[in-house]
């Protein structure tokens, strides 16, 4: 697949945005500025980036509880995202969703999701709408290895294959379902083998290699746009942090994280740029500074955004019904 230097730089920029946004979220959570749960995408940046680089604005994605990376890669606004993590009025969901429910329908982001495996079936619905309207859009469904043990995974792969829906199932196999390692939660090592049960192509790629992800997803997207049905792509990767912030990760064998740190997807791209004369070290540094500033601005935007009014809690339950509040 052809890939221009501009596209490469764009993908690098996306990976940086994810890494630095997540690092900032990690710090802000530790400072007590972000309530609730935060599941960070650090280490998995190449998957969302390589996959979404194949998409147009009018394509769809479904995401997971670990959704920040997908949303950034699909064009989500850092300011609105950070404000949502803070639970503020200018957040994507006006402070009603938080980290696990960020969505932007205008960009085809059908929501992060707090239920493991719930996105699979929503993606089928999205694929159905695309096929029904006879457009050449596609939907990428992101999910983790552990969710492939949910019935939804099997229902969704089955029906999307029967109906030949334009859905690309992108599995982020990070080796764990919360604390339970893949070897202890399923009797396979490659999730992609499950594609054969549904008579669709299945492939495993290095999820820390953004080019490999880009290429595999690109082929699947091209097939889906032509009405040739769904694909299952497994991206082997690793989350550097725990399942959520505050998880002490006692379940990890010694040395495992360190081995994966060496496979950091971001320096791999930087090395490629320098080796091939695409970007100089100075430019890379500049880009890093630019993104740091963007994230800093997002943080300021979030901090300056008002806390939602209490009355707003009653709104948006229905399009046309607002129930009474309480008197205090």
């Amino acid at each position: 697949m052809k890939i221009t230097n501009e596209q490469l730089k764009e993908m690098y920029l996306t990976m940086l945005k994810i890494r630095k946004f997540e690092t900032s979220a990690m710090d802000l959570f530790a400072e007590g500025k972000i309530p609730g749960f935060v599941h960070l995408y650090i280490g998995e940046e190449a998957v969302a980036t390589g996959a979404c680089a194949n998409l147009r604005q009018d394509d769809y994605i479904t995401s997971t509880h670990r959704g920040h990376g997908h949303i950034i890669a699909k064009g989500g606004d850092l300011n609105n995202m950070m404000a949502e993590l803070f639970g503020r009025e200018d957040g994507y969901c006006k402070g009603k969703g938080g980290s696990m429910h960020i969505a932007d329908a205008t960009k085809g982001i059908l929501g992060a999701n707090g239920i493991v495996g719930a996105g699979h079936n929503i993606a089928v619905g999205s694929g159905l709408a695309i096929q029904y309207k006879k457009t050449d859009q596609v939907c990428i469904c992101f999910f983790g290895d552990a969710s492939t043990n949910q019935s939804t995974f099997h229902e969704a792969l089955n029906l999307s294959s029967v109906w030949k829906l334009p859905v690309i199932f992108v599995c982020e196999n990070n080796g764990y379902g919360i604390s339970v390692s893949q070897a202890r939660h399923q009797a396979i090592t490659d999730v992609s083998v499950r594609a054969s049960a549904y008579n669709m192509p299945g492939i495993t790629v290095d999820g820390n290699d953004v080019f490999a992800v880009y290429e595999a997803v690109g082929e699947a997207v091209a097939r889906a746009r032509k009405g040739q049905g769904p694909t299952l792509i497994e991206c082997k990767t690793y989350r550097w942090r725990g399942h959520f912030e505050g998880d002490p990760t006692v379940y990890r064998p010694e040395g495992e994280l360190e081995a994966w740190l060496k496979k950091d997807p971001i320096p791999r791209v930087e090395k490629f740029f320098i080796d091939n004369g695409i970007m100089k070290e100075e430019e890379i540094k500049q880009l890093n500074n630019d993104v740091e500033r963007m994230v800093e601005e997002a943080k300021e935007f979030a901090e300056n955004s008002p806390v939602p009014s209490l009355e707003s809690a009653l709104k948006d339950v229905y399009s046309d019904i607002v129930e009474e509040g309480r008197i205090r």
């Binding site: 969505a103 929503i122 999205s126 109906w163 339950v317």
Partner: protein
């Protein structure tokens, strides 16, 4: 005036919407050539074809999920689950996704989807095909819940439900499917959600009910008339939004309330309505609020046992009399 069955009312509403609105489609188990387990969609596949009338695998999770996802992407799906009992299999998609998406996303998404679910006992289908689970869905903010009792209402309420921008659980009573009602052809039009219907006017007691129990209540009212008790029967038609206005107006007149549903009494939606009346209209009542429901058991198979567990007109009659 013409006669129409309850099933025909539902089918006609679907036919009209599918014909008029290119974004409306129907999918579910056996809804195609087979015409639906209860024949409700009979003829629609022949008329509209595979694209608009789709058979699905027996996968309730993805049936509800496909409704959620396609509604989020601009369609107006009608999804049929063969029995309300099977809603359990698709519950995550209904409760955690459909009901909450608009709210979680800050109001920035519409979900115009209808989940049609046949409910209720009375056909010897036993414990996993006979439940009345309306309390489960009325409990959840974000869902609207409709439960028609006759062909005219089924038609009008389904037209409105399909156009609603929120997920609607449309509960159909399977015993009523074949029941013929007189319908006013000039009145075959959308009925707003949240508007109850006075099935019979009365002055002495208010019987609040819906679905199949409207008929049992009317029968009880007839018997009570002979004993000098003039009962008013309210057919709620929509369980949420609830037409409190019609309920309160009636209580102001009668000062006595009996709530009737086919749900097992424990945790029934009638309990919620009773609580609303007790909280907001206690001083208008001059007798305890009475409830009639099924016994707190699963629905048994044997005919005699089934009809013992489910309430009938005699139970309603006795409940009313206990207030006088």
């Amino acid at each position: 005036m013409k006669n129409m069955t309850y099933a025909e009312g539902i089918r006609e509403a679907m036919r009209v919407k599918i014909k008029d609105d290119p974004n409306v489609l129907l999918f579910g188990e056996d809804v195609g050539k087979f015409g639906g387990c209860f024949g409700v969609s009979a003829g629609l596949w022949e008329e509209f074809g595979d694209d608009r009338i789709r058979d699905t695998p027996i996968s309730e999770g993805v049936i509800v999920g496909a409704a959620v996802g396609s509604a989020a992407c601009g369609l107006k799906p009608i999804a049929e689950l063969m029995f309300i009992d099977f809603i359990t299999v698709g519950m995550d998609q209904l409760i955690n996704q459909a009901a909450k998406m608009r709210y979680m996303f800050g109001g920035k998404i519409n979900l115009p989807m209808v989940i049609r679910v046949p409910a209720g006992a009375g056909i010897g289908a036993a414990a996993q095909h006979s439940q009345s689970l309306e309390a489960w869905v009325t409990h959840v903010p974000g869902l609207k819940v409709v439960y028609p009792s006759n062909a005219q209402d089924a038609y009008g309420l389904l037209l409105t439900s399909i156009d609603d921008q929120n997920p609607v659980v449309f509960i159909e009573n399977k015993v009523l499917y074949s029941m013929k009602n007189e319908v006013d052809e000039n009145e075959l039009k959308p009925i707003p959600l949240g508007k109850a219907r006075i099935a019979k006017e009365g002055t002495d007691v208010t019987i609040i009910t819906y679905g199949r129990q409207v008929y049992d209540s009317l029968e009880a009212a007839k018997a009570l008339d002979k004993e000098g008790i003039n009962a008013e029967v309210i057919d709620l038609r929509t369980l949420f939004p609830l037409d409190k206005e019609t309920i309160f107006e009636s209580i102001e007149k009668t000062h006595k309330v009996v709530l009737v549903s086919e749900e097992c009494k424990r945790g029934a939606y009638t309990g919620e309505i009773a609580a609303i009346i007790a909280e907001e209209y206690f001083y208008e009542c001059d007798a305890p609020i009475k409830r009639v429901g099924a016994l707190n058991t699963p629905i048994p198979f044997a005919t005699d046992l089934e009809s013992y567990v489910v309430p009938n007109s005699k139970d309603i009659e006795l409940a009313v009399k206990s207030l006088f």
